[in-house]
Symmetry: C2
Subunit: 307 residues, 2 copies
Amino acid sequence: MSGPVYDRVALIGLGLIASSMFWAIRKAGLAREVVGTARSAETRETAREIGLCDRVTDTVAEAVEGADLVVLAVPVGAMGAVAEAMAPRLAPGATVTDVGSVKRAVVEAVGPHIPEGVHFIPGHPLAGTEHSGPRSGFATLFDNRWCLLVPEPGTEPEAVARLRALWEGMGAHVEEMDADHHDLVLAVTSHAPHLIAYTMVGVADDLRRVTDSEVIKYSAAGFRDFTRIAASDPTMWRDVFLTNKDATLEILGRFTEELFALQRAIRTGDGEMLHAYFTRTRAIRRGIIEAGQDTDAPDFGRVKTGA
Amino acid sequence: MSGPVYDRVALIGLGLIASSMFWAIRKAGLAREVVGTARSAETRETAREIGLCDRVTDTVAEAVEGADLVVLAVPVGAMGAVAEAMAPRLAPGATVTDVGSVKRAVVEAVGPHIPEGVHFIPGHPLAGTEHSGPRSGFATLFDNRWCLLVPEPGTEPEAVARLRALWEGMGAHVEEMDADHHDLVLAVTSHAPHLIAYTMVGVADDLRRVTDSEVIKYSAAGFRDFTRIAASDPTMWRDVFLTNKDATLEILGRFTEELFALQRAIRTGDGEMLHAYFTRTRAIRRGIIEAGQDTDAPDFGRVKTGA
Ligand SMILES: NC(=O)c1ccc[n+]([C@@H]2O[C@H](COP(=O)([O-])OP(=O)(O)OC[C@H]3O[C@@H](n4cnc5c(N)ncnc54)[C@H](OP(=O)(O)O)[C@@H]3O)[C@@H](O)[C@H]2O)c1
Ligand SMILES: NC(=O)c1ccc[n+]([C@@H]2O[C@H](COP(=O)([O-])OP(=O)(O)OC[C@H]3O[C@@H](n4cnc5c(N)ncnc54)[C@H](OP(=O)(O)O)[C@@H]3O)[C@@H](O)[C@H]2O)c1
């Protein structure tokens, strides 16, 4: 690293993503000072206790004062109100970004509040865990993960390059795309899979003839992977589905169609169709391993717990 | 361990499960001799090359000669034909078991071939990876995993106890249940989740507006876990769905119903319903971690690949 990329970074919201950003920024020396704030006194107290941020302020307005980068790291549905609260205090020439999982809705909710002379570059790091809150972050969360930036056409290239340098300094690979394309790509790779996992776990929880304790005991055969996804934060995911409605519903529609075709093949005993389908889906897996986005370790890559 | 549980074990089929059994049996000294055979000359050759089994025979009939335990470790749809081929050579007092992922269909396909005086105790270890073949096995596959035995009423208790001792010696926990209940439990915890994962990966592969390379690059946000499941062996899974048709279709029917309810909530903007649903599904996850069937490590428990 060649010194700080920003002078003062303000983190608005101090959950998993913001706290991971703080530890990563500090580790790599990417900012001279990091100021943070969160909605609840409890989270701000925790942050002060564990040394999360160089300074924790009680209000959003104080936090953004004099910051050359402001990061909105709250649920997507809360971004508009937060942007409105901070807008009058933004420093001229500052950059505002966010880490929300949906982009078109953030552009529409935050964009109108950004004053003339402030850069707005929405972003989304594709990294997370099923944990949340100020204690859940860690410096390596973004290592070898993608961060997507969706600047509007006409955004100043130097401002984008600087934000890119921050993410790269935290270990991420950066790519730019259009907000709508982002929302469609994420609907396929993240939002629809999450809804499907939530659904499957809900079904298992609701069956009369198989007990919850059986589901839990015998989960290692596939179901376990779904429960991990379906343990993610309910508020974050409610907001994702409500704000990426169209793309998510489009993918779920396609999913239901395919599922019906496979169900019909099972019902009619069409083994050839099933075999061909299951062969085709293996190729994508190989691509993911080759791209370094997962390991090829056996037993679903899990660390074994002692017998 | 207190010495061998069986004198001679015959493994029919030498894929992931059988090869893992061999390494686990050898490590714990659970049999005096392990004989193996597989359908293809190629697999038998590989087995001889890597020292998989004390002896590899060219035919099933030779393999079962004088064995006091015979393990059928071939795809579910192949069990009946294999049972028919070996039946005349089974030693009186021997036990025949299997490791198939479906149980009622195996009982029906194999049961009629088992001669008087031979014990038949179907089984299913809930452990696997997405790899297959004679080189994919390892001794710890069954560590801390469940193995379900589904003996018919009236099976000699000593024969069941001995088979149980073998699985416990390989590190597994053993539970007994009825074949139909097994098939329903597995439809929920494994078969339906696999079909759903295959479907989601198929949809992603088939979209025109998102390229495969984008899906692969940005898979870490949830989709990746589906691709791992959907990389499992096509023949094995074709047979599972064709032979556990009723229970799988029942669960998929329930799944579709729930998915429609969630889709409707997204469409109508019912955030309360979504939040309540996503909160309920977290509890099962906690149960799985407490039961030691997964770890609570961040980032989906994956080992990070270097940046
Ligand atoms: N988790 C992931 O896997 C992941 C991955 C990529 C992007 N994201 C995105 O990152 C953002 C933050 O997620 P996270 O996982 O860091 O969440 P988190 O751990 O749950 O933290 C959320 C933070 O936002 C604050 N907050 C919640 N509701 C608010 C409201 N109505 N007004 C103001 N502040 C509010 C919380 O304050 P209190 O602590 O005071 O309640 C908390 O500090 C979300 O937009 C999410 O879509 C998440
Ligand atoms: N993999 C899992 O996750 C898992 C978990 C629990 C239970 N199971 C069950 O365990 C059994 C074996 O699975 P596996 O994963 O060990 O499979 P695998 O690695 O693909 O090996 C299958 C073995 O069966 C042989 N075989 C295939 N078709 C055959 C046929 N028509 N007639 C005779 N032999 C045939 C193969 O012989 P060649 O090598 O000569 O082709 C190979 O030796 C299946 O019933 C499966 O349902 C699997």
